[in-house]
């Protein structure tokens, strides 16, 4: 049985994450002498986990291609915590047994102490923000650990049974980048101790079509709707056709046929399609349409079955989350990338644990702010579901 961790006499620990925002860095550049300042008022900080170096540094892609990014961490006195720069990616090259580059975090063992008002210092070499999906807003390094506060832990010394309990999820539909949504889950019946977070996502299905001099049409299914079919054809080559937009709620189809002139050339524009879609009750109930280059001609054809999205594993970032304790005190210096907080064993980092666990008294609230980092319009409307997992305290 491992020895339980105990802070020094007169102190208690709270889970906390100091965040470094790398979204404004320039890809391909080196950034020595970076730091995160441990602000006064938060207590000393004990660093145990670093996540996000792979979201900020280049992967190794082969000698003569890209040698890969490197990081070097320092303690509060500026002494290096490594013998040299380290590539954060794991086994970067796919010819090695077919293993693809692995996005990973790492631990600091035993732990690193940073006094209040000191700095977490580090060097970054060969930056590349968000290698996989190209979203620079997800470039973030999270230094996770505990902040050490003078006093006694604020949890009643009650005699209780503490069975496992998982609350229903805290749900948020994520809008465009920068939008913030606050959601709360009331702690009902009994006090609750939060041990872990598990995050799932429902991504709206979408279809897109268009080309040179044409309108670019993106149709996005509404989350949760049953399957339906979109069938668009510009009638190119068939002269004298009239524009038609027909929706059938029974067969769940939306059929669009373009108008043509006497020579069979298409004449329907994106504007007409957009107006027809937004005027149709069934179409607007099952999806939304976005059209770029409105005067452009209708795309030649599109035939796709769209689904309302299925609840799936969080395999890419959608938002940054700020978790609050029972006193609505934040548990990080800035919102933390959702991937870093996901404890799903099928997820990317597989670590969503709160150490020490967070105590919520009865009738308090588990509050999470969701700050969107979605820049792809096709992903707007994605729904994150955050499951709080822990223990209820039944007094006995």
């Amino acid at each position: 049985m491992p020895q339980l961790y105990t802070p020094p006499e007169g102190f208690y620990d709270l889970p906390f994450t100091w965040v470094y925002d790398a979204s404004a860095l320039t890809d391909g550049s080196d950034y020595p002498n970076q730091f995160v300042y441990i602000q006064g008022g938060y207590g000393d900080f004990i660093l145990r986990r670093v996540a996000g170096m792979t979201r900020v540094l280049h992967a190794f892609t082969g000698v003569g291609f890209n040698e890969g990014g490197r990081y070097l961490l320092y303690d509060a006195q500026g002494r290096p915590l490594q013998g040299g720069p380290i590539c954060p990616w794991s086994n970067n090259f796919s010819i090695f047994g077919g293993i693809a580059p692995i996005e990973t975090d790492f631990g600091m063992v035993p732990e690193v102490f940073y006094k209040e008002t000191s700095n977490i210092k580090f060097d970054l070499a060969n930056v590349l923000r968000d290698t996989d999906h190209g979203n620079a807003l997800s470039a973030q390094i999270a230094f996770q650990g505990v902040r050490r506060v003078a006093g006694t832990v604020q949890k009643p010394n009650m005699k209780a049974k503490t069975p496992y309990f998982g609350y229903d999820p805290i749900v948020a539909a994520i809008g465009p980048a920068g939008s913030v949504i606050t959601r709360r889950r009331l702690v009902t019946d009994y006090p609750f101790e939060l041990y872990n977070l598990l995050i799932l996502v429902t991504v709206p299905d979408s279809a897109q079509g268009g080309g040179e001099s044409q309108s670019t049409v993106t149709i996005k299914a509404t989350i949760g709707v049953a399957d339906y079919t979109v069938d668009i054809d510009d009638n190119n080559g068939t002269p004298g056709q009239v524009f038609s937009f027909v929706s059938d709620p029974v067969t769940r189809t939306i059929t669009v046929r373009g108008a043509t002139d006497g020579g069979g050339s298409p004449t329907t524009t994106g504007t007409e399609l957009g107006n027809a879609w937004n005027a149709d009750a069934f179409a607007t109930s099952v999806g939304s349409i976005t059209i770029d280059n409105l005067p452009g001609l209708l795309m030649p054809d599109l035939f796709q079955v769209l689904t309302g999205g299925t609840l799936g594993i969080l395999d890419r970032p959608y938002a940054k989350l700020m978790l609050y304790d029972q006193h609505t005190v934040q548990t990080a210096s800035a919102p933390v990338l959702d991937l870093f907080m996901d404890g799903n064993q099928n997820g990317v980092y597989k670590t969503g644990a709160l150490v020490p666990p967070l105590w919520y008294r009865k009738d308090s609230q588990i509050q999470i702010d969701f700050t969107s980092i979605i820049v792809d319009p096709a992903l707007e409307g994605a729904v994150l579901q955050v499951y709080p997992i822990g223990r209820q305290y039944y007094p006995c």
Partner: protein, 155 residues
């Protein structure tokens, strides 16, 4: 230490996040601090095709180092290696194939118990390419430095 402020065990947390309790340095005369050691072969980190290299990583003179594990951060192909400490003790009988080594920093291959390398010593590494091509490699040793601390009455 105040037992009231003791953490409950969080089984969802990896061991490093749970916190590794260290006894007070003033009592034990030592303090451990994390210190990862990357190793890259000479010639810009590349093992020539099919070559066997005999190399070493020098240990700083300021503290003993305890290596608790290792993982592969960069590899272009399969390789094998054998580690020997400063006293000639081989950590494995024969070479370890890279296919048997962890590739994630979050879950390294463990050395249990952690193996000591004295200050000023070396980690001797014999490393051989098995891919038949030039092979760039970075191997990272997860370790800590053990500093000597003056023993005295606890404040």
């Amino acid at each position: 230490m105040s037992a009231g402020n003791q953490y409950p065990m969080n089984q969802y947390a990896p061991g490093y996040l749970q916190g590794v309790q260290q006894p007070p340095p003033a009592l034990t005369g030592r303090e451990d601090r994390p210190y990862d050691i990357p190793y890259e072969p000479p010639n810009d980190g590349v093992i020539p095709a099919g070559a066997l290299l005999v190399d070493f990583v020098g240990i700083d003179t300021d503290a003993d180092v305890y290596v608790a594990g290792y993982y592969i951060a960069i590899a272009e192909g399969q390789f094998e290696f054998q580690l020997t400490d400063s006293q000639g003790y081989q950590l494995t009988k024969g070479f370890v194939n890279s296919n048997g080594v962890a590739v994630a920093a979050s879950d390294p291959t463990l050395l249990s118990p952690a193996h000591p390398f004295p200050a000023g010593g070396k980690i001797l590494i014999e490393i051989r390419d098995l891919s038949g091509l030039d092979n760039k490699v970075q191997l990272v040793f997860k370790a800590w430095k053990r500093f000597r601390v003056k023993v005295g009455p606890q404040q």
